[in-house]
């Protein structure tokens, strides 16, 4: 490792490589704090060229590579792997171009989601996908996980907004897949790459689509006396073919945590559930949709329905929702966020199931989720130092995912599979499906050195050689 570190440092400069064991410690986990694997080295390239030189060297040495953005992911996608090197995009934060006429922007992968939106807003545009961690997470990380966010209900997840990529392949080759137009000619490699969780290569530059900031947006808050009512209300809004831009539900415990935090939004403490809705578009359209929504809400015995009076109130209502995960830190030392998708007609039933599963295992549960997408986020409180509790949490997480898949749902809405959901992949996929995925992966990374042991289960990919690197003859010096 010492020789490798020296060579990497000669590519990246003295501040571009971290090899001090103390300074490496914070990299051992990402947002999935229950898993920790020590990183051997962290590379901080500044541009595509440096990243390519770095990956070419790691290819020659046969060292596994884990890409990392801001490390805010919740599925362990950026957790280091044994004997592997982390390549972080934290020093690749330049916005290369904002083109308001053709409505796209070209950014380095380490640009923070909210910084891109801020740059676009000067031109009356925005980057639509807005994960709750948008003030910290990077566009590169969003590409890796095909991230969602409240507004993806209307606008679609990250993959719908990526026009082009510059990718550094496993061997250091630079693939420029920047398309000047929206519809790719030939195979849509960019589409294939989005959501590959760092297993295909390292995205270093991203061209994103920008959409106009809506003329008007209205934020509605409905308060319910039961979580069931809130769920049913969402199911009916969906069934009525209405298209608000976001539909979010927060339960009682979440409301309490948010209201006690710096993101206090004015949600009524004590309510069993609130439904946060946003309608955007031109004036008459917004008016019509909100009127129709209010009618539906009224049928589900709300305690209160109100609309935000001004921009500041709208901002606060959203900040509260987006800070919900972190705010739960007030309630428990650690938090496990499950991420499952269910048919939107069965929200009530599956929310009840999550509550029952956690109740039986004596676990505290908070539900805060993208109801419009049917994307559940049961947040289970635990303490990572209590092994027995961690086991119960994992079991609950597994059962929740199983129930969702059995109901016709999916394993992940936006967080990705990472390490966290590897075990559950065979709930959704048959062995031959997983084999097919491995064959696609092999096209991009025949040595399986890119983020090994993530996304596709080990046994399916027979990835034993990467996890037992020490036995490899040309292993790391």
């Amino acid at each position: 490792m010492h020789r490798l570190a020296q060579e990497l440092r000669s590519i990246l400069g003295p501040r571009g490589l971290i090899d001090d064991p103390t300074k490496l410690l914070p990299y051992e986990s990402d947002g999935l704090a229950m898993v920790a694997v020590p990183a051997e080295l962290v590379c901080l390239p500044r541009d595509t060229q440096e990243a390519a030189a770095c990956l070419a060297l790691l290819h020659r040495e046969g060292v596994p590579v884990v890409a990392r953005g801001a490390g805010t992911g919740l599925a362990g996608g950026a957790t280091p792997v044994a004997n592997g090197v982390v390549v972080s995009t934290a020093r690749m934060r330049d916005i290369l171009e904002v083109n308001p006429l053709d409505r796209f922007a070209r950014v380095q992968a380490g640009v923070v989601n909210v910084d891109l939106t801020r740059a676009a807003s000067r031109h009356g545009l925005r980057y639509a996908p807005d994960p709750s961690s948008q003030m910290a997470c990077t566009i590169g990380g969003n590409v890796a996980n095909n991230s969602g966010g409240p507004h993806c209900f209307k606008h679609g997840a990250t993959t719908r907004h990526i026009q082009g990529l510059v990718i550094v392949a496993h061997d250091g080759e630079i693939l420029d897949l920047s398309e000047p137009h929206l519809d790719p000619v030939g195979y849509d490699l960019v589409g294939l790459f989005v959501g590959s969780e760092g297993t295909f290569g390292l995205a270093t530059e991203v061209t994103v689509k920008l959409v106009p900031t809506p003329a008007l947006d209205e934020v509605l808050l409905a308060v319910f006396s039961t979580l069931d009512d809130a769920c049913d209300c969402v199911s009916e809004i969906i069934a009525s073919r209405l298209e608000p831009s976001a539909l979010e539900i927060l339960d009682k415990l979440t409301i309490e945590a948010v209201e006690a935090s710096v993101f206090a939004a004015g949600y009524p403490v004590g309510a069993e559930a609130v439904l946060l809705m946003e309608v955007e578009g031109a004036g008459p359209e917004v008016e019509g949709t909100s009127r129709a929504i209010r009618k539906i809400v009224d049928r589900h015995s709300p305690l209160d329905v109100r609309s935000a009076r001004n921009a500041e109130e709208r901002r606060k209502l959203w900040a509260g929702r987006k800070g919900a995960f972190g705010a739960m830190g007030r309630i428990a030392p650690d938090l496990y966020v499950a991420d499952a998708v269910v048919p939107r007609s069965r929200l009530r039933e599956l929310i009840r199931t999550t509550i029952a599963i956690c109740h039986e295992r004596n676990l505290r549960l908070a539900n805060v989720f993208h109801a419009g997408d049917g994307n559940l986020h049961p947040n289970i409180c635990y303490d990572r130092r209590n092994e027995e509790e961690v086991a119960r949490v994992l079991e609950a997480g597994h059962l929740i995912l199983k129930a969702c898949v059995e109901a016709g749902g999916a394993l992940t809405g936006e967080h990705g599979v990472g390490l966290e959901k590897l075990e559950q992949m065979d709930l959704l996929f048959a062995p031959h499906d997983l084999d097919a995925m491995c064959r696609v992966r092999d096209v991009w990374d025949p040595e399986r050195r890119m983020n090994p042991g993530k996304l596709v289960p080990l046994r399916a990919c027979m990835e034993l050689r990467t996890t037992r690197l020490e036995h490899k003859p040309e292993g790391i010096a």
């Binding site: 490496l24 914070p26 901080l44 995960f325 972190g326 739960m328 030392p333």
Partner: protein, 439 residues
């Protein structure tokens, strides 16, 4: 030499005592703080981020990490701007954790002898002693007048930091305020006012403007005579014994001033933030804890006080002659440390004819951070670069702030790049605007 003796390593009952372990558990590793951190933004290293530093503290608490050089480096690199606290949904009290960790680091893993001497002289000899501070001011002025300061550049970090200082005014301009400054016209009330430790040497004019503007608003200011420094720099740098000693002197002096209940108006955001949370320095059984709690409640920032007065009386102000447009920059310990954001803006909005522009990141740290610009001049300048770009993009020709450290950083940074943007304390603007109104 009590301070030096205190630094001999002591056996520990548990590693947990090396850091504020209980507070470190509040962090759930979500990472929302990362991009607000000036040192993470400039290095890209997660060990230089709030989440990373908490991770290190936690590792120390769990016995997985010793107080090694890299740990010390990361603790020292932090500016304690507390921007991370503003965005932390879990309510992690990072500033207090950092102060605690620094304190334990100092006592259990001593620095080199020269470094300890420098800390001792700075924190224990200079800051609590008016005569020593005066002497230092005079020496610096001598160095500046003779041009010898340019030689200081060759004497390590501290020398480079010193050469950045603004001109020290002549002694008459550095005169101290009298013990009482009467309200002009009808007296509406009385307040306690602090001059601070370094302020009279560098910014006596700001102190005069503070007292004068309070007088013009009808308030008589009383100045305590028997203490100098509030101890915020001590707490910030992990010298809790020094901070406690300063706090005791300060609390006593202000209990004895007037009827002992006067509001304490503070024109330095860094001091104010510390004074509002100094009780945590004392154990809850210590009688000083209760006295500190009572003291904390009396502290009010200058902008809060003036804004309330202007609002109550619906005073409109007229813009004085100054280069326009102006921009307001939030001192970290005002916005992140005390949650004061609207009051200075509301005061500025009252000044008619004051053309204002906005910085795009007014809440980002300028890199001053107490003694940081002296101990980490390179890092401090790198952080300031972003602020300077922000200032230039805004087109402002006068920058308004409300903390001596920030004012210093802005003045010396602007001078270094050869710009002519003026820098003012909010109190200077208010004074000028009140006088403008009178004339």
């Amino acid at each position: 030499m009590a301070h030096l003796e205190e630094q001999t390593p002591q056996p520990l009952a548990s590693e947990k005592l090396l850091v504020d372990y209980a507070k470190s558990l509040d962090c759930i590793h979500c990472g929302l703080c990362l991009q607000t951190c000036p040192t993470f933004r400039s290095t890209g290293a997660e060990s230089s981020s709030p989440r990373g530093r908490i991770h290190l503290m936690r590792a120390v608490g769990e016995g997985r990490l010793t107080l090694d050089a890299a740990y010390t480096e990361e603790l020292d690199l932090c500016l304690v701007c507390r921007h991370c606290e503003t965005v932390c949904p879990a309510g992690v009290r990072f500033g207090e954790m950092m102060s605690f960790a620094r304190n334990r680091r100092e006592s259990h893993s001593p620095r080199s002898f020269p470094a300890r001497i420098a800390r001792f002289v700075g924190l224990r000899v200079l800051l609590p002693n008016r005569i020593a501070l005066r002497l230092m001011g005079t020496c610096l002025r001598f160095l500046q007048l003779t041009g010898l300061e340019r030689i200081a550049v060759h004497f390590g970090r501290l020398g480079r930091g010193l050469s950045d200082l603004p001109r020290i005014p002549p002694l008459p301009a550095r005169r101290l305020l009298p013990a009482r400054i009467k309200a002009s016209g009808e007296e509406r009330g009385q307040v306690a006012l602090l001059e601070g430790c370094v302020m009279p040497e560098l910014y006596a004019r700001v102190n005069r403007a503070t007292a004068r503007s309070l007088a013009l608003l009808g308030f008589t200011s009383h100045l305590p005579s028997n203490f100098v420094c509030c101890g915020s720099l001590h707490a910030h740098n992990g010298d809790h014994a020094g901070a406690r000693s300063a706090a005791r002197k300060m609390i006593q002096a202000l209990e004895e001033l007037g009827d002992g209940t006067l509001s304490i108006v503070v024109n330095s955001a860094g001091c104010g933030a510390h004074m509002r949370s100094c009780a945590h320095l004392f154990d809850s059984e210590d009688p000083w804890h209760a006295r500190a709690r009572a003291f904390e409640k009396r502290v009010i920032d200058y902008s809060e006080f003036v804004d309330r007065e202007l609002q109550d009386r619906e005073v409109q102000l007229t813009a004085p002659a100054l280069p326009r447009p102006i921009a307001w920059d939030d001192p970290c310990h005002l916005c992140h440390g005390q949650g004061i954001r609207s009051q200075p803006r509301s005061i500025l909005a009252r000044v008619q004819g004051l053309e204002q522009v906005q910085l795009s990141e007014p809440e980002a740290c300028c890199g001053s951070a107490g003694t940081y610009s002296l101990t980490h001049p390179e890092e401090s300048r790198a952080i300031f670069e972003r602020k300077l770009e922000d200032l230039e993009a805004s087109g402002a020709r006068t920058l308004i702030t409300a903390n001596p450290g920030c004012q210093l950083q802005w003045e010396s940074g602007i001078r270094r790049v050869g710009k002519d943007t003026a820098v003012m304390h909010l109190a200077e603007l208010v004074q000028a605007a009140l006088l403008e109104k009178k004339s």
